[in-house]
Amino acid sequence: MIAETGLAALWLAAGLAAYQFLLMILALRSSVGVARPMRAVAVIQGVLTLAAFAMLLLVFARSDMSVALVFENSNSAKPFIYKVAGAWGNHEGSMLMWVTILAIAGAFVALFSRRTGERTLVAALGSQAILALGFYAFLLIASNPFARLFPAPPDGQGLNPLLQDPGLAFHPPTLYLGYVGLSVAFSFAVGALLTGEVDARLARAMRPWVLGAWILLTLGITAGSYWAYYELGWGGYWFWDPVENASLMPWLAATALLHSINVLAARGALKAWTMMLAVIAFSMSMVGTFLVRSGILTSVHAFAIDPERGTFLLVLLAIYVGAAFILFAFRGANLKEGAPFELVSRESGLVVNNLLLSVILGIVFVGTLYPLFVEALSGEKLSVGAPYFNAVAGPLALLVALLVGIGPLLSWRRERRPVLGLLKVPALLGASALVMSIIAAPSIGILPRAGFAVAAFLLAASIMPLIARNPLRAPLATWGMVVAHFGIAIALAGMAANAAFSSERLAIAKPGEILSVGPWQVQLGGVTPTAGKNWTAIEAELRASRGEGIVTLTPETRYYSDPPTQTNESAIRTFWNGQLYTVIGNQDSSGAWQLRLWWKPFVTLIWAGGALIAIGGALALIGRLLLSLRGRRREPEWRRRYA
């Protein structure tokens, strides 16, 4: 009964989405008055979809094995939290979650958005409705999450134990919130292109959504990177796996959009440009969803292959992206450009930022999709990995990081202040980091070395916008920018340190034997069996020392019974200056165990930097929201002029 209620709610929501889209068409042809029920319809649609998702959570929580999805992905012996998380740890459930977030985002726009003109809002809600409708159709036709099994089997087939992990339980929702937040920017852009009202008010209506989505994508990518780092046991933090790229591409586009939207909001310039980026950002979200959900790419994460669903998603993607681009082609050229600016100005700096980010996005996009095209055209199979992405995108990313230190110091419209004076100290720091790295570590690669130099430069340069004025008087959004840019420097330093100074040891050891890695002496104490709720394991006791005191690490190999699977659980110990990372492998015939040990100096800076970037975004978001709550009366005169 619960499952049927969920399905019914989904059908109703689909009907309402169709009605909402119809209202938009009618309203744009005649008058906005026609669309008076629009806000209410959008809210009810959101509530219904949320109800459907709640029903899915309920059947998973109750382990109702008569629902096919529960049977395939759950097991009554699983810990409760993973039973619930299992609801979105699979294809159908995650697509339902996606559309739920989409519909709720639409409801929030309907409830709270008061900034744009009424016509643009109606058009944006219509666009949001047609997006949702496509995904409702996908669920109802090609992946019904509520399908029943008859007779109901006694117990489920469990969830892959690799996926039984808090990181993975909360990772997809974070990314989905980010993806779908970009759908609102897309809908606002489509709405504004339809009505021609592309102005600063629109930018300010879009900005909180773009910022929010960008923060969540940043968090999702950072958390996903740490998850891959400790869970895969390979010691790496980014594998250029297509699934990782699927989240990186929307992030790159959203980062560009986030910067250009500020130009539109502050100066009324870069109109067509910003609309284009809004369309691209959500297109990248859909490309990401398509890549992950269609199982089309070879990938360590890839799910089962199902051509019907893949084709359905591809058609949806083609319709939405195609329609948005056609709309852009017809309307984008007619937009009046806003305030002019000089070649050296904040605007130009942001244009350069956008261009470089777009080039990086293009490189990642081509590298990720190239294998598909080659296979489709010639049948040949190939993969593109770290050697390509690091060599081609790496130097450009460093260039972006370098310019991040300079751009925020430029003033709007025309540069008048002597910026170079402010950059003396950062430039000196960067140069001395370069010289020190050559003296202290002559044999490291070019990229890590340049990484150190740029990181040192940016550490100082990123805080200059605060030093150039009274820091306490600076708006919260400026603080946010500074924190985020400082985070880039921190993350970059971590990546460079990890690439340059990590040491690895792979060997076998019998209990009592000592292995050395970096400054550490690691002794294998003993290997003992242990057990958890639905797994048994062998656990190694490692005693590590580098002179002062002994720390104990316990890496495990776990065996799950349902389905039968074995996983390596790494044990990681964090110190102020790095991480000791240990993995236990298999036992050989002589009784010795395989051990893999890493000493990774300052590797944690990578994720600390990612977190800082997200915190910076959050500060900016809070600052903007507070400002808008305080009312628009005190808006500077020039803003109103370009609005």
């Binding site: 892959n160 690799l162 046991g233 390979w234 440009w273 199982g295 089309i296 070879t298 360590v300 994460h301 890839a302 799910f303 089962a304 292959i305 450009e337 806003g338 002019p340 600016f341 000089e342 070649l343 244009v351 261009l355 470089l356 777009s358 080039v359 990086i360 996005l361 293009g362 490189i363 081509v366 590298g367 190239y370 294998p371 040949e380 199979k381 190939l382 993969s383 593109v384 990995g385 050697p387 390509y388 060599a391 081609v392 792979l506 060997a507 076998i508 389905p563 699977t565 074995q566 996983t567 390596n568 993995v583 492998g585 298999n586 050989d588 015939s589 002589s590 010795a592 395989q594 893999r596």
Partner: protein
């Protein structure tokens, strides 16, 4: 700058960026893409010596041998038509076992595939797409033989 010129400059910059991205990507892909081979492809001499590549197949039953250092293994990958010897130094993944599918990443060196990384199937239902095709082709071949 006049607004009209400004737009022109922006359009040219955007087009330039697009072209630069595609050119850079093409340049990078020419030497850095790693092709997927099956043991039959290797036997036909398709994989160049030392070029980074991926090799997929089934781990032949009884072929896994451990070296004395405890961390190097030798095994044979097969696609039912040909076999390729593989050497791997490291901890084999959780799901790597004889008789099931695996993909090795590495390169050919003097007749042996030297792997840096081994990927095994993720769970019962997951197959690398390449191996999925392989199984289907293999079946189709058998049906034709009959």
């Amino acid at each position: 700058m006049k607004p009209k010129n400004q737009r022109l400059v922006l359009v040219i910059a955007a087009t330039g960026a697009l072209i630069v991205a595609v050119l850079l990507a093409m340049w990078g892909l020419r030497s850095r893409a790693s092709f997927f081979y099956t043991p039959a492809d290797i036997a036909a001499g398709k994989a160049a010596e030392g070029q980074s590549a991926r090799l997929g197949g089934m781990v032949e039953k009884g072929s896994v041998q451990h070296e004395a250092d405890g961390v190097t293994i030798h095994f044979i990958l097969t696609d039912g038509r040909a076999t390729t010897p593989v050497t791997f130094r490291g901890i084999a993944p959780d799901l790597f076992r004889e008789g099931s599918g695996a993909v090795a990443e590495g390169r050919m060196e003097r007749g042996t595939f030297v792997a840096d990384q081994i990927l095994a199937k993720h769970d019962e239902r997951y197959m690398p797409p390449e191996l999925g095709n392989l199984a289907a082709e293999h079946k189709a071949g058998k049906t034709l033989e009959k």
